[in-house]
Amino acid sequence: MQAGRHCFQVLPALDTASIYSGNEVLSSTVCVVDYDLVCAAGVGLRSLRDSLAAQRSGLVPNRFPGCSLPTYVGEVSAASNYQWPESEVYWTSRNNALVELALQQGSLLDSLQRIRQLVPPERIGLVIGSSTSSIDQAEDAYRTVREQEGRPHDNLRDRVLNPHAPTIYVAHRTGITGPAVTLSTACSSSAKVFATAARWLEAGVVDAVLVGGSDSLCLTVLYGFHSLQLVSTDICRPFDRSRDGINIGEAAGFALLVRSDLPVEHTGIVLSGYGESSDAHHMSHPHPEGAGARRAIEQALARAKLAASQIDYVNLHGTASRVNDLTEGNLMAQLFPESTFMSSTKGWTGHTLGAAGIIEALIAIDTFKTGLLPGTLNLRDADPEIALRLSADNAQGEPTHVMSNSFGFGGNNASLIFSRGRG
């Protein structure tokens, strides 16, 4: 294993000063007030914690309506069964159902209410990542039009059949009226929400931001990734020698962020660094040496003023595609010491695409609370081509600094670092 690490081509060290010539650190600390989520491995954090501890995957053989592909999916059955109240029927979409379910978890809405007592609604921002948005409703409309032989569809809703739909729905649902944006950079979408939120808080254009992400199972992504030959017929096995592709999952998650000067009780968890970069290589293949990913990771470390050795846990992008895991695994082995515990949690959730950034950031920061470092579920036989020592087994620890990586189509990379006990 160790020998394999040295076989990998060593890249020249990047001059981090040339990457990041701005303010040394965020002058305002960005604190996490609350967070929660839904994904295939748990509706709510409590349920996800149980699944992580028990190594219980949320992936199931695909029975998604209208899709006959032999694969596993990370389906949230509560989204399939979600019944919209009559007054809210306008908002019907699978993605909005996931958003609604996530907002209902834990104390998220109560925490938002606490912020609302201090801050007017126009001073709260919304930054949400999504790549699918409510495209299931467009798929449905086209099917209906076809079945009705071209008669126009009578249920076209501009605020739902819209790339901005999840954010419009959250604004409607919560009464937040401040600046609101949907970031859509494929699989890095809801990692980048933290960087944008940090900028908005730092500039003082808002006093709090609800960040989040949501992506839902739909025919577009199932058949789309299938057309690229990226979908496994088996359960996904990140970093395994036999891995042969991804399982598509769905999820939604949120985190409520404030500047440290806002007098509100928070978790003690802060966003200590972020990095954003482009591969400048290919629309759907990562840079072979992970040059863009490396840039994002080094930028995040420089901003957090941390050395790689100070990161206690990394939640890897780890999709279980042949090329992502090879590139990411070898890059991480180069940048981090063996003592850094790393894992991909996609064996529990599937690849939740535009929601992966927030879900995995939340899994990473939840290790501060639980001390449970999830393993790389479904990994049986480590790929000898990948110079990273990973295990399927969970571990216990007391992390202080954690990182989460997200890489998307278009060569769009984001890396986040969170720390506890700062702020």
Binding site: D158, V205, A280
Partner: protein
């Protein structure tokens, strides 16, 4: 509670493309009244020469439109695209490709072209741009429906200011296709780009912008009906009042762009 800090940036380049104008000099002439609005406006396909030939053939029109205006703005600014962070904003996304995907998925075979699928991501323009220009900087891709221009400009200015980096920002929306024709009023194509910097460079800027947020809307002067109609119907064309101010070298106009239903970006222009 800290008050909002002022965020300032300098405009060094502009790009534009749409029905009746192929570049910023042509749109500037129309906006300033130096040229009359053509009786039968012509749509010139975006050249988007920045994209290498093979890739250009595979690139969707929305990508070519965005890359075209981005290239124009960088050229005018005299800056290397690989040094610019970029923020791409589109209110509707690529409805042409969504139309293709959903129509295919309504057929029993459900066969999708892999190229069209990877081109369908909202960040396809950002992807093609960064690949074509060897740009490894941060690239963002934004959707905010009617508020896309305000949000894109705010994100770009804050990024320029806080990360101390020049930023390319692009806004683009094309004619709605397929079922989206029945949802959105967008009946014509529009794309525009700005190159902004956090500090003045050696040469004088085209304009200085100072942004702040709030609830008050600045009333716009009445202006040409053709542009007013375009502005109403195309999310990206919300940038027209700013381009109008630049084209007419108005002394110190203050504009407002929406950020949400209740919140606006105030843009004070100095030139």
């Amino acid at each position: 509670m800290p008050t909002q800090k002022s965020s300032v940036c300098y405009v060094y380049g502009v790009g534009a493309w749409g029905l009746g104008f192929a570049d910023w000099p042509q749109l500037r002439a129309l906006l300033s009244g130096a040229a009359p609005w053509p009786q039968e406006p012509v749509m010139t396909p975006p050249k988007s020469e920045v994209i290498p030939g093979n890739e250009r053939r595979r690139a969707p029109t929305i990508v070519k439109a965005a890359v075209e205006v981005a290239g124009q703005a960088c050229q005018q600014a005299g800056m290397n695209p690989s040094e610019l962070a970029c923020v791409f904003g589109s209110g509707l996304g690529d409805t042409d490709i969504t139309d293709y995907l959903c129509a295919q998925l309504a057929l029993p075979e459900k066969q999708l072209s892999p190229t069209k699928f990877h081109n369908s991501v909202h960040n396809a323009p950002a992807g093609y741009w960064t690949i074509s220009t060897h740009c490894m900087q941060a690239a963002n891709s934004i959707a905010a429906y009617q508020h896309t221009v305000g949000i894109t400009l705010m994100e770009a200015v804050l990024q320029a200011h806080q990360e101390q980096t020049p930023v390319l920002l692009c806004a683009f929306d094309l004619t709605a296709r397929g079922i989206y024709e029945g949802i959105y009023e967008t009946k014509s194509d529009f794309a525009a780009a700005l190159v902004i910097t956090p500090n003045e460079r050696d040469q004088p800027p085209l304009a200085k912008l100072q942004i702040s947020t709030g609830a008050d809307v600045v009333a716009l002067p009445a202006w040409d009906a053709t542009f007013a109609k375009l502005q109403r119907s195309n999310p990206a064309a919300q940038i027209l009042p700013l381009l109008h101010a630049l084209a007419n070298k108005e002394k110190n106009p203050v504009l407002s762009l929406s950020l949400s239903e209740a919140c606006h970006l105030k843009v004070a222009v100095e030139q």
